[in-house]
Symmetry: C2
Subunit: 198 residues, 2 copies
Amino acid sequence: MSPRSSDVVARRTRDAIVEQALLVASVDGFDGLTIGGLAGDLGLSKAGVVGPFGSKQELQLAAFKRGIEQFVELVWEPVATLPAGLPRLKGICEQWIRYHERRTLPGGCLVTTASVEFDARDGALRDAVASAQGRWLTTLAADAEVAVRAGELPADTDPRELALLINGLAMSLNQSLLLFDDVDAPDRARRAVARILG
Amino acid sequence: MSPRSSDVVARRTRDAIVEQALLVASVDGFDGLTIGGLAGDLGLSKAGVVGPFGSKQELQLAAFKRGIEQFVELVWEPVATLPAGLPRLKGICEQWIRYHERRTLPGGCLVTTASVEFDARDGALRDAVASAQGRWLTTLAADAEVAVRAGELPADTDPRELALLINGLAMSLNQSLLLFDDVDAPDRARRAVARILG
C-alpha cells in the first residue's frame, strides 16, 4: 500500500470513528462515550480508536465539532444566501425545525446535550460548546438586528431577546420530540415562529 | 435510643443523602451520581448511602423527585392562589425566571439535565422526567386556555403552542446563565414574556 492510499484509509477510519462517536454521544452523552464501546461498535482495537486523536478528550471534541458542522450544513447553508434580515431569520427557523423533525441525531440536539453535561464544569468541551452556541446566538441576533433596521420587525425589538426566544423554541421542540414523541410539536413550533416573527 | 428517635435519625440521614444527590446530579448528571462519591461527601459508608433506598436507581429517583418538589415550592406555590388565566401564567413566568436568576441549583434546571440524559433511553428515570414535564406543560397550557376563553389572550392563540414557547424560554434562559453567565438574560427573558403574553 502506498503512503498515499494508507493516508486515505487512515482518514476514512478517523471519519468513521467520529461519526459513530457522534451517534453515541447524542444518546448517551459525551461522558457516555467509551473507547471500548466504540472499539466494539466499529470492530477496531482500543488503540485503533484512540490513536487518530491522541486522547479521549480530543475524540470527544472531534465528535462535537462534527455535530456542529452537520448542523451548519443542514440549518445554515440552505438559507445562507437568502437576504439578511427577516427572510433569512424565518429560513433559519424553518430549517431548524426540519432538523429536529427529521430526527437528524437519535438523541436530538447535540449542543443541548453537551451544554447540559459541561455547562457547570470547566474544560475544553465546555469552551467548545460555549463558542459554538455563542456564535449561533450572535448569528440569530445579527439577522434580527438587520430586520429591525429594515423595518421588518417593530423598532423596539431587542435582537438578543429574539435570539433567546428562538433558541428556546428549538430546545423546547427538541424536548417534545424526544421525551413525548410529539409529532404535532414541529407544526406548533412553526406557528410559534409566525407569532414571534409575524 | 428509642425506636422513635432512631426513625428521626434515619429520616434525616435519608433527607441529607437526597439533598446531596440533588446537588451532585444538577452538576454531573444523574449518571454522574456515585454511591462512593456521596459516601465521601457525607461521611457515610457506601451501605449507609444506598441502604435507605435499596438501589442506586431508587436514590436517583428520590433525588429527581426532591428537585421537582423544590421547583413546585419555588415556582408554583407562590402563585397557586392567583386567578387562573393570564395573571397566574404571568406569575409562573416571573417565578420561573427568579428560580433561574437566583441559581437555585448549581447545575441549573434539573428537568433539562434529566431530560437530556434519559430522553433517548427507556427506564424509570425517563418515565419520571416525562411525567413531571408533561404535568408542567399541561399546567401552563391550562392557564393559557383559561386566558384565551376569558379574552385575556387573542382568540386564535393555541395554548399548547404558548406552553412550548414559554418552556423553551426558560430552557434558553437556563442555558444563557450557565454557559455564558449572562446576567442580563433574566431581564431579557422578562421582556420576552411581555412580548408573548402582552
